[in-house]
Amino acid sequence: MALLTIDNLHVRFRTPAGLLHAVNGVNLQVDRGEIVGLVGESGCGKSVTARAIMRLLPEHRSAQVSGRVVWRDEDLLAKSETDMVRLRGADLAMIFQDPLSALNPVMRIGDQVIEGPRQREKLSRQRARARAIEWLDHVGIPDAAARVDQYPHTFSGGMRQRVVMATALSGSPDLLIADEPTTALDVTIQAQLLERLRTLQAETGTAILFITHDLAVVAQLCHRVAVMYAGRIVEQATVAELFAHPRHPYTRALLNSTPVPGQRERLEPIPGAPPDGLHPFSGCPFADRCPHAIPACDLPPPLEDVTSTHRVACHRHEELADP
């Protein structure tokens, strides 16, 4: 059953240089208890999509958001800020890329972890503290009972990201949006953190929308994956299908530019740069960089079903399929 359905989401920003098209018709679905990876290079609209779901964009200033973001049966984009405040933290939570700045430097760790539930449930001080310790323990903070009263500067980057995870999960949300949570960390810490996240996900059943540019992380963590390019979803499939039979030329190029341990093959960079979003175009956004582009690519490719779990937006995906 679909928990979150994003339907034709568009986000544009008014900038001094003109209207910037950041997200151009994203369609995506996240089911209950599922981990979906949202992959793409910097600037492709991943984070903007996440913030649009949470309604964190400056909508009354520069951002224009259209389309539908259906949460259970209700369109989040139609909700008032008061209603969103009620949903944030309790139903939908989010964690950010930089753990060093995501914690308030002058607030005790424990108070931050339990801030959401404490407002909603009117917990007593002792109950809140106990819950905070419990959550810090869950995310793997050693000696949680002692550290609950400390301030963020005494924590390392990896430990802070664990605290941030505890902060987001303490409200028992149904969906956690993780915006590149491990990007700022080194690889061993990243592996530990992903392992912990997977364990917690299995225990709590929280669905996760995991945003990353790292395909290795997707392979390790996710059930399904959507590949985003220039504000559009170009391919989505189960992780196994996508890695075994990528259909979209961009997905293939992305896989070819990722190192595989043990192989000494030369990595192939993708030539050119993605469109800048200031100059709207009607055709396939990848056509300029695509080795397989044909004149028909001037028309927008529809997102077509390859199998019931695999969809791709490319005019030539059938010809280009693996034999």
């Binding site: 944030r88 989010m94 308030n104 407002q119």
Partner: protein
Amino acid sequence: MAHRFHIFRQHRVAFVALIVIVGYALIAVLAPWLAPRDPYSMSGDYPLVAPGTAGYWLGSDPFGRDILSRLMYGARTSLMVGSIAAGLALVLGTIVGVCAGYFGRHIDAVLSRFMEVLFSFPDILLALIIMAILGPSTVNVMLAIGVVYTPIFARIARASTLRVKRAAYVEAARTMGARTPRILIRHILPNISGPLMVQTTLSFAFAILAEAALSFLGLGVEPDAPSWGIMLNEGKDWMQHGWWVAVFPGLAITLAVLSFNVLGDGLRDLIEDTG
């Protein structure tokens, strides 16, 4: 190394200033017990006696009132006016500045323009206008000085809020479902408090000076109340006959203002050191 020594010395001076301020505060609180004489009682037998004579350690004024006792009671006036005026400016300025910085747009435009108008008056002139309208009294001095120094706090609070409101932890708090009042009080306010504390200490010095100036001009506290400014005013006419009447209140003001300034600078260094 030289840098560290410099900071150490800076803090040591600030520490001395703190001790002086605590000394002033103790004298102010304990004035009724410490003062050798009644600060109001006049004595026709001992007008304008020199320091040291007949138990008048710092001499007496032309009405035979004990200078030392009046200075001690004057510390009460100065510190009370200073703390309440600086506190008022802190509270008003912070509310205005945080609202302007956080909500932005029209609210910012209206509040900031209003603060700029206040700011554009010379301090003492604005205080004089307010005092002339309200009439001289201790409460009115506090109000006037508080209003005069509000824009400085508003400006600092606004600038700091603009910086802090873009911090990731503020956005993170929003995603956890924190409401605006909570974000302002728990996340913004504690993170902008450093510069505001420094400004409060410095404003304390300004407020003491402003109180003395207003009282000197006769638009401050009630005329018979012991105030350093009033004492200075009375003393100036007698400089040739009794220098002590004006010099001691002048020294009291100088030392207090200097101490608050040094402490404020020390606090600023400390905050900048620790980031």
